[in-house]
Symmetry: C2
Subunit: 269 residues, 2 copies
């Protein structure tokens, strides 16, 4: 299989085929090449070149792109990754800003289609491939509404204090942020209250939106991983019985373990 | 028509019917009452009582519930409103926290179904009634992906600085927040950069996700309304040709004008 990023070396014929299949990433085309003169004048042969457009995910070592990757693994969608180094400002370069005008991670490219904002990307793929891999949306419209609700809670209640803790405890020297002890304390208190609500919710259903795993659960994994790991706030999870069981369940999924193989901005054990 | 909130006065018979139709808000039932003795002993008559479950939206004077209401108007979904006063802490009362455990606005009740987080609610209704009223989701999955993307941009790029401006310029005395001039300056600068990206985007398509109005556009209206009105930052919109035309278009929709009739936390002209 020759993936899309390698096709440029195969000349104009392949490039034309590449264009033909741009809008259908599932296609596999065979290209018959009757003879290659530089190789042999006496034998013609056929060369099968399978072209497959795979999804490109930018910035795989960071947290938000991992939110996308864990869902792509669950949906059994093949992807390749493109490194982006925030420390050297690669996300502020003009070619990156053409893909993501705010200079944030992640962005995906899927043939001609470009999409940014991690929670938009995961909704897009969960819907596009609803019946492939794990269904992450819920069966009924009412279940889907609850998935949306808890995905929004992750974005607006869980993520802001978790993000403050990660930035100020782990990344402040690297990103030139002054470590703010008051903000750390305040964020920890806020997060504890949020997790109290989660504890109550998870005492009633195995996952946030009901008894099925969904985008809403998986979306928490990147920052939960920081909390229990390098920033030393594991107690926030472990002291809450149902939150702890939920975290153990979702973080032991093969999809998340495969994400961990892509490393972290500054490696930690 | 007798709406659900009025049925309690109609006695046990209606209450039983009320229960029967809880799961189907579209139903209209006729209740035959053979005679009402206190009215007349000599004439029996039939009284037609139409019961319809309508959506209840909590806190209509505030910004986030208006995000829901503008979409309900576009989708031609009937609703009633329930006042919630944040200044007197009605959102911290146990009965409210049963509906919305974080004490935030809005929350909706639709028969037995309760849903919170404004952007989850609007996605739910846009999907549930896709072919009723204005289609706010986009036709193809790719269009829908772009709606999700710009709805996320509204939530994560536009809203945080806009919210800071509104809180610190307009509401700081009422909510006991110390007005932070540095934060106001920083938020104004951030918002200007975000609107520069919008200006570029809106020079290429009439609306954010393409040439069709969507959840992504309407979701901006409550805070755009504060910016051009009481907090005096109209110039951020008016100095950008395409953003200004977009704002004029979406804010003149009848759906938004009907929202304005519900008033604001502290009335302004």
């Amino acid at each position: 299989m020759v993936t899309s990023s390698l096709t440029s070396g195969l000349g104009a014929g392949v490039s034309a085929l590449h264009k033909q299949i741009k809008n259908n990433q599932q296609d596999k085309l065979s290209l018959a090449v009757p003879s290659i003169h530089s190789y042999t004048q006496t034998h013609s042969f056929s060369l099968e070149v399978k072209l497959k457009m795979v999804v490109k995910v930018y910035g795989p070592v960071y947290a938000s792109p991992k939110r996308v990757m864990v869902c792509l693994f669950e949906k059994e969608i093949e992807f390749e990754t493109v490194p982006v180094n925030l420390l050297t400002g690669e996300n502020r370069r003009p070619e990156y800003l053409k893909l993501q005008p705010f200079g944030s991670l992640p962005v995906i490219q899927d043939g001609d289609y470009t999409l940014f904002e991690s929670r938009a990307i995961i909704r897009y793929y969960a819907k596009k491939y609803k019946s492939q891999g794990t269904d992450l949306l819920g069966k009924t419209i009412e279940e889907q509404g609850l998935v949306e609700q808890w995905l929004e809670v992750e974005a607006h209640n869980f993520n802001p204090p978790a993000n403050n803790l990660v930035l100020h405890i782990m990344f402040s020297p690297s990103f030139g942020i002054t470590r703010d002890e008051n903000l750390i304390k305040e964020s920890e208190e806020k997060l504890a209250k949020v997790l109290d609500v989660y504890e109550d919710r998870l005492s009633k259903s195995k996952y946030l939106a009901g008894d099925f795993v969904s985008l809403a659960d998986l979306s928490h994994l990147p920052f939960l991983n920081y909390l229990v790991g390098p920033i030393g706030k594991e107690y926030l999870i472990k002291e809450r019985k149902h939150v702890s069981a939920w975290y153990d369940e979702i973080s032991s999924r093969p999809s998340w373990k495969r994400c961990l193989e892509y490393g972290f901005p500054f490696e930690f054990k």
